[in-house]
């Protein structure tokens, strides 16, 4: 699903430049649930942003579902993001004046899906994350966990090939974190490919594979036995 070869990225900081990714090689198959771990500054978020086409690599190849991702202008990147990717952010990033239902249906609006269809689909996804009774509520009326579940429903609404989650539990207490991870595991079980960036060990243990990043290189890449989040959820 994802193939990365010798990926480099550096940021200019005034006169000096900061080499963040120093040749990353990574292959991810369809249906995997991968945790990308590392301390802050290890380059894990940069990697995720490049995978999400929110940022561009300096050199190296990135192939997503057999489509080489290069020479992207903003318009093309926007189309690919819309077609291939779903995002979940630490700070939820819901549009605050839109209801949960409208937030979830927004990616479908940009796909050109008709209003009726996208509302039906959005409602369906809200139902799947257990929030169909909250469809008309604004984000400010939802709890953190509920917000993140709306965000996950929104990310899934466009039926992406890969779901990218940047510290999805970073702003949540542990109980809520496990609930969100349970949802992610459930979506993964349905066959979706998911990448989770996290620095929490217990969250990483709930994935099927852990990639350890340090100072811009992968130092460890191992498959693990998944811990089911449901075992923590009371």
């Amino acid at each position: 699903m994802i193939n990365i070869r010798s990926l480099h990225k550096s940021y200019k900081m005034g006169n000096s430049s900061l080499h963040v990714l120093k040749g990353i090689n990574l292959d991810i198959e369809e249906g995997e649930l991968v945790a990308i771990m590392g301390s802050s500054g290890s380059g894990k978020s940069t990697l995720l942003n490049i995978l999400g086409m929110l940022d561009v690599a300096d050199e190296g190849d990135y192939i997503l579902d057999e489509v080489p991702i290069k020479n992207l202008n903003e318009t093309k990147a926007a189309r690919y993001r819309n077609k291939f990717l779903g995002f979940v952010f630490q700070s939820f990033n819901l549009i605050n004046y839109k209801s949960a239902l409208e937030n979830v249906s927004l990616p479908l609006y940009y796909q050109g899906v008709s209003r009726k269809e996208r509302q039906a689909a959005a409602f369906d996804y809200l139902d799947r994350v257990g929030l169909k009774d909250w469809a008309t509520h604004l984000p400010s009326e939802l709890s953190g966990g509920q917000k993140q579940r709306v965000a996950i429903a929104r990310a899934m609404a466009s039926q992406p090939k890969v779901l990218l989650a940047d510290e999805p539990t970073g702003a949540l207490d542990s109980q809520t974190s496990y609930e969100v991870m349970e949802l992610i595991q459930k979506i993964n079980e349905e066959g979706n490919t998911i990448l989770v960036v996290t620095h929490e060990h217990d969250i990483a243990q709930m994935c099927k594979r852990i990639v350890q990043l340090k100072d811009g290189v992968i130092i460890e890449d191992k498959k693990i036995k998944q811990v089911l989040a449901s075992s923590y959820v009371q």
């Binding site: 940022d55 926007a78 990033n93 839109k98 796909q111």
Partner: protein, 409 residues
Amino acid sequence: MFNRDRWREIFETISKNKLRTFLSGFTVALGIFIFIILFGLGNGLKNTFQEFFLDDASNAIFLYPGRTSMPYKGFKANRRIEFNNSDLADIEENFPFFLEHLTPRISRGALTSFKNESNTYTTRAVAPSHQFVEKTIIMEGRYINHLDIVNKTKNAIIGRLVAKDLFKNENPIGAYINIGNSAFKVVGVFQDDGGDNEERYIYIPYTTRQLIEKSNDEIDQIILTFRKELGHTGALAFENSLKKYFKDKKVIAPQDPNGIYFQNLTDDLKQSQRFAGVLQIIVSFVGLGTLIAGIIGISNIMVFVVKERTKELGIRKALGATPRSVIQMVLQESVFITTISGYLGLFLGILVLESIGLKLEEYFIKNPFIDIGTAFSATVVLILFGAIAGYIPAKRASSIKPIIALRDE
């Protein structure tokens, strides 16, 4: 542009961001409103001005006799010059090509009474042509005619306010009033656009006045109008030859500035028009200034609005919005709001101007108006600049990488 779904999205955004909608709408509406009010009031001022200064015939020349200040051809200085009826005949005979109307004017103050009412008014003894020189408007009856002059009749035409003072609600036509010690029959009532003072005069035939004053043939002043086709230069030439003729006839030194006075209204007219022009420039300047202030206002609001939306635009981009659709959304929304509120301000402004009408007349503002073309152009300009002011930050926001936009808190 006519995508129903996009309009729905825009209406939703507008209705759920009331402060933003209000701010940009209010700025444009206020800008247009103030522009129209100021411009309209300026026009009202111009109206009053025109009424004040352009009331009398603009092609009139006034001749007043004076005292000489230089000895000439055996005459001493300080000799009094007088006009008489022969001067009228001479002008008519020598300048037929230039002349349009000619009238003498003899002004006297006199106690005037009707029944128990009395007051002192100025009577002007004139010829029929005086009506055209002064632009007198007859309300009832008639003006002085040729027969009055020939027969030296004791007929009088009284001003609207004289009639009001003396007759109250009675019909003055045909009634007899006492002017000084003579009884005059009122044959007409007039009004004048020149203001209240102009309507407190009484006109009588000049020959009658001369008869009363011991049958002399003296004249206070001569007023004449020249043919308008002469233009300003022609008028000046006419005035010069008139001057020369009269100095010759009355034996006044050619260099003497005091023997006879000429007042040529074309000079006044030219000054008045120049003043009106300056007034126009001031009005336009005020209008332009307001418009620029409005443009700056709406530009500020637009920059603020887009800045405030940076994060939202980042989210939209992460979800697949193309830069084009982001710009389009921002612009369509702002143009929609500014258009609606712009025309709201336009109609409100025009409504207020209309309702002012004559209410501010004592502040020299009469019938303020704005021509609809100017008003519409101003509105379109403001909307256009609102769109441009929105486009620049929208363009920038759309080209920021979503990851940076998302970081914006």
